[in-house]
Every structure is written in C-alpha cells, then in structure tokens.
C-alpha cells in the first residue's frame, strides 16, 4: 500500500517506520510534517496514496483543517483517512466523523501496544479493495 503519513513528531514517524519494517510489511510510506506539506504532495501530480494516516494536533494546519480541505476536493475526498492521535476528546472524535474519516485510532502509551494496533489497522486496510487512482 502507498501510505501518506501526516505527523509533525519525528519520534512518531520513527515509531511507524520501525513498526512497518519490524513486521516486514511492504508498505510505501510518504511522510508529511503538516497539512500544508501533505496537500502539496497530493497536488504535485504524483500518484495518490491508498490511505492517509493523519495526526490531529499539528502546527500551521491542524488535522481537522486538512481533513476539511481534503473532503471538499472532488478527487481527494475518496481517500480513506484514518486519524492517529493522542486526543481522547470526544468533541474531536465527533468532529472528525462528521467531516468524514475511515477510522479513529488512539495512540497508546506503550510502544508494544502501538505496534499491535498499527499492525491491525494496516492489515485491515490491506484486506480492503482500495480506490487506486
């Protein structure tokens, strides 16, 4: 799968990369440090990702702001977007589902738990039929 990973925290990025390589998953991860960077990548003409993993709390453009722009775009709105956040705020969760998301995953404290969760998420989406641009 081609995964667009939008996350400002370097260690979070390390966590995902380590998980993918440790589980020997053959996923192609594109990193974006925030919403703006992600939009630039999506609009660069390069092939679109299969899924997007999106953090909520980011500088410059928050996750929800990015999500809104994405859902207003006639092409990009089809991309399944999974929220990956530490926010257990119910208001955030409701807002995201309202705009339109494919999942809401809370980052656990322990790395082992994180690995387990991410494994399931990636396996699930790998099983799915994807839009494929």
């Amino acid at each position: 799968m081609d995964i667009l990973f939008i996350e400002d925290d370097a260690i979070e990025t390390m966590k995902l990369n380590r998980t993918v390589s440790k589980l020997q998953l053959k996923h192609n991860i594109t990193e974006a440090k925030n919403g703006e960077e992600a939009l630039n990548i999506l609009k660069s003409g390069a092939s679109l990702p299969d899924i997007i993993l999106l953090d909520l709390n980011m500088p410059r453009m928050s996750g929800t702001e990015f999500l809104k722009i994405l859902k207003e775009d006639d092409v990009l709105k089809y991309l399944p977007t999974i929220i990956l956040t530490t926010s257990e705020n119910r208001a955030d969760l409701l807002e995201c589902y309202k705009i339109g998301i494919a999942g809401y995953v809370i980052k656990p404290l322990k790395y082992e738990d994180y690995e387990n969760k991410l494994k399931k998420v990636l396996e699930y989406w790998d099983t799915n039929e994807l839009v494929k641009a």
Binding site: D9, N57, S87, E88, L109
Partner: protein, 542 residues
C-alpha cells in the same frame, strides 16, 4: 163755538186718539219684549245655578279625592314624615317616622325638641328660627335619641304650613336616617387614611394624574425625582420621562385583562430627575375611567430598576464570561493533556527501543533503570488522564439514559485488573438507574479498582449491594482490605491526595468519584477498620 170749530175739534180729537193708540201699541210691544228677556235671563240664571251646583259637586268630589290621595301618600311615604306645630309638638307622623323614633303621637305627646341630642340643641334652635323666618329648611342634620335612647343621625328637609292669612300654623318635615351613611362616611375616612399611609410609605413611586397633570405624588416619588410634591404638581409624566418611541428599553407587558373602564399596562421607561440625571423604572400605568363627564384618573406606579438592571446586565456578562472561560478551560485541559501525553509516548517508545536494541550492552541495573523509567512514564500518563477526566466532569455534558448497574459491574470485572485471590460479587440484584453511563461506570470502577488492589487477605472479597430510599439509590461497596485510617476519611476525596503505598496511585480516582456523586445530588461516606476492611457507601438521586 161754531161747527167749524167742532169739526176742527173732532179732527183734532181723532188725531189724538190715533197717537194714543199707537203709543199704547208700543207700550204693549215693549212689555212683551221685556217679558221675553226676563224669561230668557231667568232661564240662563237657572242654567247657571245648575252648572254651579254641578261644578261645586265636582270640586267637592275632587277635593275629597285629593284629600284621601294625600292621606295615602302621607301614610305610604317611605321616608319618615312628620307634621308638627310651631312649638315642635308632633301633630301627625307616618309609620316610617314611628319606626324611626319609637314614639307614636296617638299614644303620647312628643315634642321634637326633647329628642335632640344635647350637643345639637343650640344648632337645632337656630335652625328652627331660620325655618320660621325663611319658610323652609333644607339639609338640616342632627343627632337624636329615639325612645330606646339609641343615637341616630338624621337629615331633615322641612317647610312651614301657613293658614289663609299667611300665618304659620305648623311645619312639615321629611326625615332621612343617615346613621348608616354617617358610619360609611367615617369608615371611608378611615379607609382613606389607611390608603394614605400605604401610599405615603410605599417604597414605590406612586403618581396620580388627571389629564396628564400630576395631582398627587407620594414620598417615594418625591425622593425618586428629587422634586417636591408642589414642583411635581406643575409637571406631567411626559415631561419627566423620555418619549416612548425612541427608547429601545420599552417593553410592553400587557399582562392584565382589559376591562371596560380600566386599562393597565406596564412598561420600562427612563425618567429624568430634577438634577438632570436619569433612571430606568418599571412603570405600571392604570387608567381609571370616571363616571361620564368626569375626567379619568391615571395612576402610575414607578419602580426604579436601574440598579436591578445593572445587576442583571452584570450577571449576564459574568455568566457569558464564565461560560466562555469554562469552555476555554475544557479546551485547554485537552490541549495540555495532549501536549503532555505526546512526549510521554516518545519517551516510552525510546526506552522500549533502548531495551530492544541494546539489550546485549545493558547490565541488570541498566535494564532495571529503564523499566523504572517506563513505570514512571506510565504513572504520569495516568495522572494526565485523571486530571483530564476530573476537569471534564460537568453537569452540562451528562448524557443520561437507563443504566443497568448489574451490567456496569460485570463490565468492570472484565476490564480492570483483579488479582487472582480477589472476588467481586453483588449481594442483591442492583437497580437500573437513570444516569450517564460513562460516569456511573467511572464511579464504580474507581471504587472497585481501589478496593481490589488493596487486599492482603488470603481470600479477598469485594461485595456490591444496594437499597432504595424514597429519593435516592444507596450503594455500598465492601472489601476486606487493609482499611483506611480515620484521619484520611475526608482527605481521600480531595484531588491529588493519595494515601496508597502503591506507586501508581495518582490521588485522582476518589476525587472523580466525589465529583460524579455531587453531580447526582448524592453523598459519599465510609466505614473502615484497619486490617479488617472498608465499606464505601454513596447515594445517587433518582
């Protein structure tokens, strides 16, 4: 005398006879005429006499009719009626008069002067003089004593009766018993006095107007406006208030049923004081229509609400600010919690990787330190979680539904860590209550979670039971754990007050419990004995 003379004589004689005869004839005629006239006249006289007699009879009839009519009126007149001689002795009196005075002139002699109350004797004598001089007396009022010595207040209209030579012979009078009227008048005066006391002592400004002119203003309105009553009387309400249509504060509240001759409405109006300053007042205006041709009254009751309005506005402002700051605080709690949790996740991941990647280079002590670090990180994560939960328990985001507490306990058994030697059971069937499911879950989980990890007995037992009171549900959670020293019984419900020797306790669990119970108007208390166990009991409003 010669024949000639005879002839002449005879001629003369003849002429004379003829004349005489004619005269006789005339005399006869005249007598006849006179007789005829006499006859006519005497007939007329006869007729006239007859007519006179007839009309006389008619008059007599009429007189007797009128007399009996008058008699009737006299006896049937509703008001007491009296005829007295000029000395004041009663000559005649009707039934009403007998009833009023208690005397009967047919039985005894009564002199009106003797009935007059001593306070009125002089006035009465003066009035009688006036009556004889002028011929009539109107609106004479006096107090009398009836036969039973009851004081009565009467009103008299009387006039003199004259004989044909215009000599006064008697006086007649119509009396009205105004004792009641007098009482009513006194009562009215009393009521008026009471009303005055109310009006003058009212904290509300009361202004009476006729034709827009102020005719009366009470003390409170004098104080309100800063004008004296005399000054106010030269003004109108319109002059000392802002015009209605340019004021936005006007709010008509027609909460009165409109009636035929009264109209009430209330509005909020701004008034001017004498010194030029203004005040806002709730004004109730009642229009009271008078009998026709009289001008209607308008009563304005003025209540200065400037301060009240200011306070209201202040309160509204404060509420808005509070709401905003509450919302801000909640947002803030989430942001802070996120910002604290993110680095914790990083530290946790990094320490795990250290253990994984450098396991061969680490000695036992290094591994222990890294694990200790991970435990601290975990404790801090819980603390952050707890603070967030505590700060977001608010009555305004409760989602109340039917919650089966039996299911809640079952769920908790599945979720929380329960040491093998401990059993959690329910002693009776727990109720289904109306509350926020998450909060109830949190409430039981925090108490049970505390209980199960503090049991040192070989066989631990945590039992949940409930009972119902008219207004509340009461739950008890009993354990056979280490017990809580008495001095901590209040402290444990305060935030960050941990008494556990377990390193992970944050001191937030029971303060969350307390906060949730407060939301449902309940109470929490505990019985505990060191080494024997603790029973937490709490109530929740139904």
């Amino acid at each position: 005398m010669g024949p000639k003379s005879n002839l002449i004589l005879s001629k003369m004689e003849n002429k004379e006879v003829t004349l005489l005869k004619k005269a006789l004839e005339r005399q006869k005629k005249a007598r006849l005429q006179a007789e005829r006239i006499l006859e006519e006249k005497s007939k007329e006289l006869y007729d006239a006499t007859n007519q006179l007699k007839e009309s006389n009879e008619r008059l007599e009839n009429m007189l007797s009719e009128k007399t009996s009519e008058l008699e009737g009126v006299f006896y049937n007149i509703i008001d007491p009626y009296i005829v007295m001689d000029i000395m004041g002795n009663i000559l005649r009196m009707n039934g009403a008069a007998k009833e009023l005075l208690g005397y009967d002139n047919n039985i005894e002699e009564i002199n009106l002067m003797n009935l007059v109350h001593k306070d009125y004797v002089q006035y009465t004598q003066e009035s009688f003089h006036k009556l004889y001089e002028v011929g009539e007396l109107k609106n004479y009022k006096t107090k009398i004593l009836d036969k039973d010595k009851n004081e009565k207040f009467i009103h008299v209209n009387s006039s003199i009766i004259y004989d044909k030579n215009r000599k006064p012979i008697a006086a007649q009078g119509v009396i009205r018993d105004i004792t009641k009227e007098d009482e009513i008048e006194k009562l009215l005066a009393e009521k008026r006095k009471q009303l005055d006391i109310i009006v003058e002592n009212s904290p509300l400004g009361i202004v009476l107007t006729v034709d827009d002119k102020i005719i009366r203003a009470n003390n409170a309105s004098v104080n309100l406006f800063g004008y004296t009553e005399q000054e106010l009387k030269k003004l109108s309400l319109d002059k000392i208030s802002m015009t209605c249509n340019n004021s936005t504060s006007i709010k008509e509240i027609s909460n009165f049923e409109p009636s035929e001759n009264q109209e009430n409405y209330s509005l909020v109006k701004r008034f001017y004081k004498k010194d030029g300053s203004t005040f806002l007042a709730k004004t109730l205006i009642s229009r009271v229509e008078q009998e026709k041709k009289q001008k209607g009254y308008q009563v304005a009751i003025i209540e200065d609400i400037t301060e009240q309005r200011n306070l209201e506005e202040q309160k509204e402002q404060l509420l808005k600010e509070l709401e905003a700051s509450n919302k801000g605080l909640q947002e803030y709690a989430h942001i802070v919690s996120h910002d604290l949790k993110s680095p914790l996740r990083s530290i946790s991941a990094l320490s795990t990787w250290l253990l994984e990647d450098y396991a061969s280079s680490l000695d036992e002590n290094g591994v222990f330190q890294l694990k200790a670090m991970q435990e601290k990180v975990e404790a801090m994560d819980k603390l952050v979680d707890g603070i967030l939960k505590y700060s977001t328990i608010k009555s305004d985001n409760l989602d109340n539904t039917k919650v089966d507490v039996n299911t809640v306990i079952k769920d908790i058994r599945d979720i929380i860590y329960i040491p093998d030697h401990v059993e959690v059971k329910t002693l009776n069937k727990l109720p289904t209550i109306f509350a926020d499911k998450t909060k109830i879950h949190q409430l039981f989980q925090n108490i049970i979670g505390n209980a199960v990890v503090h049991i040192e007995e070989e066989k631990g037992l945590v039992s949940v039971s409930s009972k119902e009171t008219p207004s509340h549900w009461e739950f008890s959670i009993k354990d056979n754990g280490v017990g809580i020293p008495k001095e901590y019984h209040e402290k444990i419900f305060k935030i960050f007050q941990s008494i556990g020797n377990k390193e992970r306790s944050t001191g937030i669990g029971l303060s969350i419990v307390k906060k949730i119970i407060d939301l449902y108007d309940g109470e929490i208390w505990l019985d505990s004995e060191i080494g024997k166990g603790t029973t937490f009991s709490f109530t929740l409003k139904k």
